[in-house]
């Protein structure tokens, strides 16, 4: 929501946002921007940098810059190369596909405007693949582990099947608002890229004991809040109790800063941390 009526942005990123808005006002259509891309032909292959010249159009984002390059992929050295490989989908920042590291910061490339990041003639914008997931090619990485971790926490409501059994549980609008916010997570992986505890792990057998990540902890909380979802609450807490669980969080709080949907990830981590502690006491005294 727009909370301020002036052009001046507020909040923790105010300075950065104000700078971008200023950039945008000064940027001229038709200027040349250098797009520097970290490229890699496939898993195990060496990376290299290639720089392309892009002529800006009105409202141009990183996706359309890459599309322009794809039509005629020639580097600034005049070398003919292949179109850059990257992942994208909705281009509206709701699918999470086009996440990459832009000028050192992870974000969606569809909502990244060249005017914000490279406002002057000859400015460079740098694109790198996310570093916490195995590379497929160029800017495309394999985020399967992210979905795997949703299975670890059983991120679903265990319904009795698709038969017609009437409505679901009634819910107070305040609870709905909290759940809706948490449910907007598009599994983009920004929180994982920024997390010091979440590291590249190519060996799938280690996924179950490596840090599960803020996104999955948030989903565990989301489903533990739901009247039917609660049915699996203990199993979710079990998954968060073991190695790679919620106690592996180092409280760097980077996740919440990079989340494009402003999901209260640190609140979710704190809530699940408390729930896990409580559950382990209960377990201890029962055993």
């Amino acid at each position: 929501m727009i909370t301020s009526l002036t052009n001046a942005p507020a909040g923790p990123h105010a300075k950065e946002l104000a700078q971008r808005a200023a950039n945008r006002r000064n940027a001229k259509v038709g200027r040349t921007v250098m797009v520097k891309v970290q490229r890699c032909d496939g898993p195990g292959k060496a990376s290299r940098w290639e720089t392309f010249k892009v002529t800006t159009e009105r409202g141009m984002n990183v996706i359309s810059a890459l599309q322009q390059i794809a039509g005629n992929p020639v580097t600034t050295d005049g070398k003919k190369t292949t179109p850059v490989v990257w992942n994208s989908g909705c281009l509206e920042e709701v699918c999470g596909a086009c996440t990459m590291v832009i000028n050192g910061k992870v974000r969606q490339s569809c909502s990244c405007l060249l005017d914000d990041y490279a406002p002057n003639e000859g400015d460079t914008i740098t694109l790198e693949p996310m570093s916490k997931f195995p590379i497929i090619r160029d800017l495309w990485v394999d985020r399967e582990r992210l979905f795997h971790n949703l299975r670890r926490v059983k991120a679903w409501v265990p319904i009795d099947g698709t038969y017609n059994l009437g409505p679901g549980p009634r819910e107070h609008p305040k609870d709905q608002e909290i759940r809706y916010k948490m449910s907007e997570c598009m599994s983009c992986g920004c929180c994982l890229e920024a997390c010091p505890q979440f590291n590249l792990e190519a060996d799938e057998s280690k996924w179950d004991t490596s840090f599960i990540g803020a996104h999955a902890i948030n989903q565990a909380r989301l489903f533990n809040m739901h009247a039917t979802g609660k049915e699996l609450a203990m199993e979710r807490l079990d998954a968060l109790m073991g190695p790679g669980g919620v106690s592996d969080c180092g409280n760097a709080q980077n996740c919440v800063k990079v989340c494009p949907k402003s999901i209260p990830l640190t609140e979710s981590i704190a809530a699940m941390g408390r729930a896990v502690t409580l559950a382990s006491f209960t377990k201890f005294f029962r055993s």
Binding site: G71, L91, I136, R151
Partner: protein
């Protein structure tokens, strides 16, 4: 190997089908170009329609929902399937509610409802501004549950290359792993296509980058019929972008937005192009702003119904060349309104504009243009009529009147019949947007999510029964000879090899896939969207002929044998041309105006000749469509004139717009 079903596409329709079929105990192989959670269904914002208790007690009914949908579609939809969909809608909402979708709530904790186009009752359920995303996530979660139990196997980043057809029956598919580029055949006893729309045929649209229509095109070229290809919905207000056109809600006009272009008024009262059309809009004086909607429709001004708004904006830009900066765009101006008011009423949607364009619409006029949004047409499918068969069709339902029937399962379509939503190819089903059923010539807002879910949940059982009682029960796919599979793989491999061998260091526009796609989009947008005419469509067919020829000689710029996106893209461009051809041919031969299809040379609806389904059959010899008009089912409601949208000079209030998102 037990009996298996292949589902192609992991959006709402594909996931609903997967869950339903897996629940019935069959193994599902789910193919998707992207991780299913990133499917295009996430883009649906507005909501999902269903009769509900509040509306019911005010006089609404499933029957009225059915009537609205048929009427909204200008009577081009077969009526029995629409009736069944409307009857099922409330139970679909209940099911998704049980799955945990965070539907907006009333203060008492019931599901909240909003008013949407095409109805006088609140019947649209919603979850914030991302209903499609939330519905998709619920099904993604249920699918993940079945995946954990080993009942669903996902093949994400696999591209469908074509059905394997043996003895006239779909017995599997050929697909390619977009990472390793491996091509292989997969056996299945039935194949469900749930691959969405074809917006990319128009270059840029409101669709996701994966909505090429190529999967449907591959089925069509393999013998599946394509129904009502010419019925393409255009949304009047979208944000132009160099990569895609993002939706701008109609509520911006509702809140006082004024549509104009810079212009110079001549002595005779006509307007001509402004010499400084691209100048900062704030510097254009009031008398050089052409508020063309207000001038042409003094009673309604900017809040004319969406089809009129769409046509007028299109006319100003395309026919008169008066678009802002000479481009296809006009101003949608809210800057005369109090920014405080705007922030309160339109905050969320204005934020989207600012995010992607960089300008704050509270202080700078927005630039907008109509955009291709939804394909009512798609693969042609069959159905078995249900139990409700009045001796003659009833007249149009009066809103709020008692429904002639109380909704019950099986009135519209016979539940579980194996031909429901099956294409003309046995064992090949089409669910969701790729299915031509339900929306006729125009889709009502918030009915798209419903039709996706309905197909998966209702006709999923038809697939199950087909395996149990149909051809696969006698000759399961696992026992078939390997030759049809091997042949299909070989054919696709040959196609890939030819494309890879075409690689050239010099990407001439003549044979460059990006250039061909761009020209295709420009041509289709100009000829086959808002305003069509025989002369222009003939020109379009000539252009398509040229593009087909160039596409047959397409040359790639990348011969990588690993993760070659250019290959996949070029192949899709080639296949999109067959859908484009069907759209253009259908448009030429439907010599009337109906719903989204508007012909300047035939501006009236012509039920005598064209109350029929357009069926496009692929002709391998001409590599184009053979069009026929087939009888359809209008046995429940008598076609009536579709009047909303007509300016009623006696009233200040327009009818609700036909669709919102």
């Amino acid at each position: 190997m037990a009996q298996r079903v292949i589902v192609v596409g992991g959006g709402l329709a594909g996931l609903a089908a997967s869950v339903r079929i897996a629940e019935a105990g069959l193994s599902v192989d789910l193919f998707s170009l992207v991780p299913v959670k990133r499917s295009h269904s996430v883009c649906a914002q507005g909501g999902i329609n269903a009769c509900n208790e509040v509306a019911r007690q005010q006089g609404y009914s499933e029957y009225e929902h059915f009537d609205e949908t048929v009427y909204g579609g200008d009577f081009l939809a077969d009526q029995h399937p629409v009736l069944e969909m409307a009857n099922w809608a409330p139970r679909i909402i209940d099911l998704l509610d049980r799955m945990g979708v965070p539907f907006n709530r009333t203060s008492e904790g019931y599901r909240d409802l909003r008013l949407f186009g095409g109805s006088l009752f609140k019947r649209t359920h919603f979850a914030g501004a991302t209903t499609g995303q939330q519905l998709l996530y619920a099904l993604d979660e249920q699918t993940r549950r079945y995946e954990s139990e080993g009942k669903v196997t996902k093949y994400e980043y696999w591209e469908f290359l074509g059905p394997v057809i043996h003895d006239g029956r779909a017995v599997g598919i050929v697909a390619q792993d977009l990472r390793t580029m491996q091509i292989r055949a997969f056996r299945a006893d039935a194949v469900v296509m749930a691959t969405g729309g074809c917006g990319l045929v128009y270059g840029k649209s409101t669709n996701s980058i994966i909505c090429t229509g190529a999967a449907a095109a591959r089925c069509y070229q393999a013998g599946a019929w394509y129904g009502n290809p010419e019925m393409i919905q255009v949304h009047p207000t979208a944000i132009p972008g160099s990569d895609k056109l993002r939706l701008m809600s109609e509520s911006a006009r509702g809140e006082g937005g004024r549509v104009w272009v810079p212009g110079i008024k001549q002595a005779d009262g006509t307007w001509t192009k402004h010499p400084k059309t691209g100048a900062d809009p704030k510097t254009i004086p009031a008398n050089e702003r052409y508020y063309f909607l207000e001038e042409k429709y003094p009673a309604y001004g900017n809040i004319v119904p969406r089809d009129i708004a769409t046509r007028e904006i299109f006319d100003i830009c395309v026919n008169h060349g008066m678009g802002v900066a000479g481009e296809n765009q006009v101003y949608l101006d809210l800057t005369h309104r109090d920014p405080d008011y705007l922030a309160r009423k339109l905050g969320g949607i204005l934020e989207i504009y600012e995010k992607f364009v960089g300008d704050d619409p509270k202080f700078t006029p927005m630039r907008i243009f109509p955009a291709v949004h939804y394909s009512m047409g798609g693969l042609w499918t069959q159905f078995t009529k249900g139990s409700y068969n009045p001796s003659e069709p009833r007249t149009k339902h009066k809103s709020g009147a008692a429904a002639p029937i109380q909704a019950a399962v099986g009135q519209g379509m016979a539940y579980g019949e194996i031909n429901n939503m099956q294409t003309n190819v046995q064992g090949l089903y089409a669910f969701g947007e790729v299915n031509f059923a339900f929306h006729g010539a125009n889709r009502l807002g918030a009915n798209a999510l419903l039709s996706c879910l309905f197909d998966g949940l209702f006709s999923g059982m038809s697939v199950v029964n087909y395996l149990k009682d149909g051809a696969p029960s006698k000759a399961p796919a696992e026992g078939l000879p390997s030759q049809p599979y091997d042949d299909s793989v070989k054919a696709e491999q040959n196609r890939v090899n030819a494309l890879l061998n075409s690689v050239t260091p010099n990407a001439e526009p003549e044979t460059n896939p990006y250039a061909i796609h761009k020209e295709l989009g420009v041509e289709m947008t100009a000829a086959c969207t808002v305003v069509k005419s025989e002369a222009r469509l003939k020109q379009c067919l000539a252009k398509l002929g040229e593009l087909k020829d160039r596409a047959s000689r397409i040359r790639l710029g990348d011969n990588a044998s690993w993760t070659n996106q250019t290959l996949s893209y070029a192949r899709a461009v080639q296949d999109m041309l067959s859908v484009a051809d069907a759209i253009a041919q259908g448009s030429i031969q439907r010599k009337e105006s109906r719903g989204a299809h508007y012909r300047t040379d035939f501006p009236e609806r012509d039920d005598a000749q064209f109350l029929k389904t357009t069926v496009a059959r692929w002709d391998p010899a001409s590599r184009g469509a053979l069009i026929a008009f087939e009888e359809m089912d209008h046995t429940l409601i008598k076609p009536a004139a579709r009047t909303y949208g007509k300016v009623d000079k006696t009233s200040k209030k327009p009818e609700p717009a036909a669709s919102h998102t």
